[in-house]
Amino acid sequence: MSAETVLFDAPGPRARRRHLVLTILGVVIALGVLWLVLTKMASANQLEGYMWSPFVTDPEVWTQYLLPGLWETLKAAVLSVIFAGIFGILFGMGRLSANRWIRWLSGGVVEFFRSVPVLLMMIFFFFGWFADAAWLPNEYAPLFGVVLALTLYNGSVIAELVRSGVHSLPKGQSEAGLSIGLSPGQTLRLIQLPQALTAMLPALVGQLVVVLKDTALGTIILYPELLTAAKTLGSAYANTVPAYLVVAVIFIVLNYTLTRVARFVESWLKRRGHTSGPLTTTEPNIVQGGAEPGEPAAAGERMVAAAAHARRARRDDEG
């Protein structure tokens, strides 16, 4: 059911007139904002041709600055997601362990890294350890800082996803596993985890959006990613504002595509219909509690509810 039909009646003649007025008002305001931005930029001489033409005429803008920056961004993001996946599955299993101490230990680790800002970790790992580590070639230090910080944070988020994914499977799954004589550990590994992981797939792709955006923090510890590239490009061509805008568009297109992919994976999983549980970890943004910084819903039961919202939300998302 779309929000619109919940909240509003089908419009009658008066409402339709009102909608027309609002439509015109919306268009006028949107155009007004656009005009304001453009005049402001024009008056600050930011619309000059020489600032924008290099993006089309000069291949060096792309080969020297933007594409290497994009490559570093993607490299850090992909490495972080791989390591975070491993970290997340290990600690997610730890939180589901039958052993109380392992459960508490992994719970503590996960909760700690989830509540510490990524930037704080990045700064500490880089300035504290990697920047003057003798065993590490200097040019790798920022990459290590970025990847380690993103791994710990997103790994903890994924651990939480694993846990709530397993919790939201029907109880019969683990009961069946135990009753055919599997140990609790085997039940977790062979029965529950595969199902939970499949159901988690869209959320994992969604997590990639979070990681991609967070690699931009690397600019603070001198990692030569896309944002840093925008900065050097801006000073080389004296077009700071256009450079940042172009980089913003690259980020938006990239992340929007990833969100689409996540949705596609989800609908594909649903069509395939192989998981027995509800697809708990749908719509990444809502599973993370609506916040990019990847705050997953605290408990499994909330995720089931969130999944239900997400399914409804998605239908009128195009609106």
Partner: protein, 221 residues
């Protein structure tokens, strides 16, 4: 450890974190509510504007917004809020945080609206409530309850994201101060834990509060 506490204004840095959090929480709540209203409105153009806002700001790194607000908006376009450089950076940080998190607030509110089954609105209408009454008595209370949990997560994320303001605020802010201390005094796990614990203290009670609240106020279906 003791001399680090004496030499650097760690409490002051966390005070800035709290200020930024409170101001941007208010800002993003106001802005996010407006965008959410646009997104669930019955007018197609308004919905498009809301969707565009969310798509743009949810997919842009906050770091980029921060850097751009100072370098682009303030220095090049000349949109300064205060003549004092650090005050100017401070208010631009608040604006960047508000604008960025408004997109998530909007999604949180919208997901709250979307938890309401259509039957609720139909039932309200069929017992004779007017549009305003059904909105006030039936729909909005449920929408609000459904939005508590995601709003709480957004607030926690916002508090942690205030560290990104170090890009423009430097050492006045917790992350910037940690960078300075680590560079001057060398790496010390104790200092890192001190800062980390500060954020745990700020966010953990909020997380527990919001989880409890959303559980207690959950609409039984």
């Amino acid at each position: 450890m003791g001399d680090i506490l004496g030499k650097y204004d760690i409490l002051g840095a966390f005070w800035v974190t709290i200020q930024l959090s409170v101001l941007s929480a208010i800002g993003s709540l106001v802005l996010g509510t407006i965008v959410a209203i646009l997104r669930v409105s019955p007018v197609r153009v308004l919905r498009l504007i809301g969707t565009a806002y969310v798509t743009i700001f949810r997919n842009t790194p906050l770091t980029l917004l921060m850097v751009f607000s100072i370098l682009g908006m303030s220095f090049i376009l000349g949109l300064t809020i205060s003549d004092d450089l650090s005050r100017n950076a401070y208010w631009w940080a608040v604006i960047a945080l508000s604008v960025y998190h408004a997109a998530f607030v909007c999604e949180a509110l919208r997901s709250g609206v979307n938890t309401i089954p259509a039957g609720q609105a139909e039932a309200a209408r069929s017992i004779g409530l007017t549009f305003g009454q059904s909105l006030r008595e039936v729909l909005l209370p449920q929408a609000f309850r459904g939005a508590i949990a995601p709003l709480g997560s957004t607030l926690i994320a916002l508090i942690k994201n205030t560290t990104v303001a170090a890009v423009v605020l430097g050492t006045a802010e917790a992350a910037g101060l940690l960078a300075q201390i680590t560079e001057n005094e060398g790496a010390s796990l104790a200092t890192f834990f001190l800062f980390a614990i500060g954020f745990v203290i700020l966010t953990l009670p909020l997380g527990i509060l919001f989880t409890n609240m959303s559980r207690r106020l959950a609409v039984k279906r």
